[in-house]
């Protein structure tokens, strides 16, 4: 009951914010909202777009869920996502003539390693030097973005040297699609990962101990859980998930590395995780909600002249509303 009420609260707040945003833009709310709905769930194409937009949000959302559950405030899913994209693209462009059975896993693995390594840096800084991961992960986001920018303007720039982007990935490294749609294999991967993360957290001894670290690190330590190692390991795992999401994006919808690909995914991931109340399975609907907003924003811009960026206002309101709802429940 409280669940339903807080969901209604979140939805109501976002609707109110949306109407306010549309009015500020001087558009007709009815037109704008119907465009939003059509663009996100109106037909098969819209639904597919929603799913495609939601996919990286599911996986980066899981990255944040894992970290927050262990009490690690990883704000760096964005940077880890970019490092994953960079890693997968760096390998993927050179895999012409290789079988897809090798190329796809190889690129995914590279992305996960790159993202995991990026998270690991923050983990080592935290445990070894006491640098709060909130700071280091945010700062590493900027470093990762700069690295990508440098790569697509330098060593990884397309052979034509015209735009700041890499060459397209080899076909073997692209994720297979359902014929005639944009639906790619990454969607299945995301659903699978959500299940795996849930199993890890709630059905293994490791998960039990990691959650204990998140809720009461002193008690966990005194019960023999190696807290330092858990924190580093969690940042690596969280980074690997975000990196995987980055790899899926370049191997799926994007096809190559752009300097300004899916900016902001790693930040929206925090909203996804919070809206899902750190439940890995709930991250799927939460990501679909944000993915739908994203997909519908384009239609709203085209049909009602409402700038798509105003949707980010709605996202912000949703986060605040979700936090208020969560707080009210715990009171």
């Amino acid at each position: 009951m409280t669940q339903i009420r807080s969901l209604a609260f979140v939805l109501g707040a976002s609707l109110a914010a949306l109407v306010a945003a549309v009015l500020i833009a001087g558009a007709n709310p009815i037109t704008a909202l119907s465009a939003l709905v059509r663009g996100s769930v109106g037909d098969g194409y819209a639904l597919a777009t929603t799913w495609v937009r939601a996919t990286p949000l599911v996986v980066t959302g899981l990255a944040v869920v894992v970290a927050f559950r262990v009490g690690v405030l990883n704000i760096g899913a964005e940077g880890q996502f970019w490092m994953g994209s960079l890693g997968a693209a760096a390998v993927g462009v050179h895999l012409g003539g290789v079988s897809g059975w090798i190329a796809v896993p190889l690129c995914l693995l590279t992305g996960a390693l790159a993202g995991g390594g990026w998270g690991g840096i923050a983990g080592l800084l935290r445990v070894g030097r006491g640098v709060p991961e909130v700071l280091s992960t945010i700062l590493l986001n900027f470093v990762a973005l700069a690295l990508v920018g440098w790569a697509v303007n330098g060593p990884m720039q397309e052979a034509a040297r015209r735009y700041p982007q890499s060459d397209p990935l080899a076909l073997a490294a692209r994720l297979p699609r359902l014929p005639g749609t944009q639906l790619h294999l990454g969607i299945l991967l995301a659903l699978l990962l959500a299940g795996l993360v849930w199993l890890l957290l709630f059905r293994t001894a490791l998960g039990l101990r990691l959650r204990a670290v998140g809720l009461n690190p002193t008690a966990a330590k005194s019960a023999g859980v190696p807290v330092g190692r858990s924190l580093v390991g969690t940042l690596v795992a969280s980074g690997a998930l975000a990196g995987l999401a980055g790899a899926v994006e370049v191997m799926g919808p994007l096809g190559r590395l752009y300097a300004d690909g899916s900016t902001g995914v790693g930040y929206t991931a925090i909203a996804v995780a919070l809206l899902a109340r750190l439940d890995p399975l709930a991250a799927i609907p939460a990501a679909l909600f944000f993915g739908g907003l994203d997909a519908g924003a384009g239609a709203m811009q085209r049909e009602a002249g409402v700038p798509a960026v105003l949707v980010s206002v709605v996202q912000a309101v949703v986060i605040v509303a979700a936090l208020i709802a969560a707080k009210r429940k715990s009171d």
């Binding site: 293994t204 998960g207 039990l208 204990a212 008690a219 330590k221 005194s222 019960a223 190696p226």
Partner: protein, 489 residues
């Protein structure tokens, strides 16, 4: 106070309690933990509003909405945890917040007034001393002085001796007697019958929020009061069967822990199979460091630590667990339990009942937990209840069940009965003695002399970061003197 009731959600903390305090008396308010003693006094001090009931002061009905109002009416309270600013002087703490002269100060005048006040009430205090540098007993005198400075005539003291050495407790008794002679009324919240017997004029007993006895101290024997508190005959004192200690399980030689202003220094400590070594001392004299070095939370800066016969210069809590060290930490909520997790999860924290690949089946988790709940008599609505929903005594039972069910070689127990009622304390003591009889080594670190005397085979005393073995056969007086820092002799 007439017909005072207080509800917290479903819990009836106080049920139509009457309480009378006469001018110039020391009135002991006793009862087990959770009986409602502190709640009742919090209402009198304006910290809580009663659900029902009235308060009359000098025949006039009053409503006390805040501690500020209580102070204005002459009612003051000294809490179990002092509310002092450690970096300020005694005089500054005393005048702080009295509302006089908000924008100017008269340092010398303050010091003189505070000194005169302390002199008048026979409180040994230097008004210019920094509060953080005072002993616990000294800080308590500052708290009393603060109230006297506000002209409080009714003093409420919550478990005032819990943190004092026996000598400091004696001094407090003398102070209270003098204040009574000056016409103050004192309410003494306690659960130590021995103490209140010496100083109280009248006594009120609360049991589960109900007043079960009130009358002159002389009208009731200790046994009767104990029975009133518990509601049945008190459990018989624990019996210690003689055992023959075996090989050393844990030992420290010339160990120094920490390098700060107050390191812990231990010349020699050894705990053998089948014995309980009781380390007594007033809170804050190195208990934390000693427990930490025993369970692997810290390593000695120098000296030798031995576990199961092997030197262990470095040790993690994980290693210690694997070697069979069990811990009953001082603060079960902070260090022992994850309150948001379920009883079952807490019970499984140290050794989850895993299948292949670290797989944790919920059924197995529940079954293991239910066995322990049954075996250790944990009162809970179920294995899936959050640990936070249990009472303090049952939370402690979760810790004990988790730690002792694994047949440990060494038990490190820090204040294992803190905050527990008589029944729960008794069951904790029984468990420790059973472990001892089974050949487990027990290092008991406690601030309760009675607990140490009831359980210990051998004794050591912590004072100012130094651990000294007590002479064999040391009695209550000797240990009390050592706790206050006098040399063994």
């Amino acid at each position: 106070m007439r017909g005072v009731s207080q509800r917290f959600g479903a819990v009836q903390a106080l049920d139509r309690v009457d309480f009378d305090l006469r001018p110039g008396e020391i009135h002991a308010l006793i009862g087990e933990n959770g009986a409602g003693k502190t709640t009742l006094m919090s209402i009198l001090y304006g910290l809580r509003q009663p659900t029902a009931g009235t308060i009359r002061l000098d025949g006039r009905e009053v409503r006390i909405a805040s501690p500020a109002q209580a102070l204005a009416l002459g009612v003051g309270m000294v809490h179990q945890h002092f509310k002092l600013v450690p970096t300020l002087s005694v005089a500054e703490n005393v005048v702080l917040g009295d509302g006089r002269r908000p924008f100017s100060r008269d340092r010398r005048g303050e010091n003189e007034r505070v000194a005169a006040l302390a002199e008048r009430h026979g409180l040994r205090l230097d008004p210019s001393a920094q509060v953080g540098a005072l002993s616990v007993g000294g800080q308590q005198r500052v708290e009393l002085l603060k109230l006297l400075h506000r002209d409080a005539r009714i003093l409420l003291l919550d478990e005032p001796t819990a943190v004092l050495t026996p000598a400091e407790a004696d001094e407090l008794t003398a102070t209270l007697t003098r204040l009574r002679a000056d016409g103050c009324s004192v309410v003494l919240i306690s659960h130590k019958l021995r103490e209140i017997r010496r100083v109280a004029d009248r006594v009120t007993v609360l049991r589960r929020g109900v007043r079960v006895f009130s009358g002159p101290m002389a009208d009731a024997t200790d046994d009767e009061l104990a029975r009133q508190m518990v509601g049945s005959d008190p459990p018989p004192p624990v019996r210690r069967e003689p055992t023959t200690p075996g090989a050393e399980v844990f030992g420290l030689t010339n160990v120094r822990v920490g390098s700060g202003a107050r390191p812990l220094r231990v010349a020699e400590l050894t705990v053998r199979e089948g014995e309980i070594v009781a380390v007594v001392g007033v809170e804050g004299n190195g208990q934390d460091s000693l427990a930490a070095v025993a369970v692997g939370l810290t390593d000695p800066a120098s000296g030798e630590r031995r576990l199961l016969g092997n030197p262990r210069p470095t040790l993690t809590p994980g290693d210690a667990t694997a070697l069979g060290v069990a811990v009953i930490p001082a603060d079960r909520q902070a260090d022992g339990l994850v309150l948001q997790m379920t009883v079952a999860e807490n019970l499984a924290l140290k050794a989850p009942p895993t299948g292949r690949f670290g797989w944790l089946s919920p059924g197995e988790l529940t079954r293991t937990a239910e066995k322990l709940i049954e075996l250790y008599g944990i009162r809970t609505s179920g294995a899936a209840a959050p640990a936070a929903s249990l009472s303090g005594g049952n939370q402690q039972k979760i810790v004990i069940a988790r730690e002792l069910s694994r047949s440990p070689r060494l038990i490190v127990a820090v204040n294992p009965s803190r905050g527990l009622d008589l029944g729960a304390t008794h069951s904790v003591h029984d468990r420790l003695l059973a472990a001892r009889a089974a050949g487990t080594a027990v290092l008991l670190i406690t601030t309760e002399l009675d607990e140490a005397l009831a359980l210990g085979d051998r004794f050591a005393v912590l004072y100012d970061g130094r651990l000294n073995a007590a002479p064999p056969g040391a009695d209550r007086d000797t240990l009390g003197r050592l706790m206050a820092g006098s040399e063994p002799g």
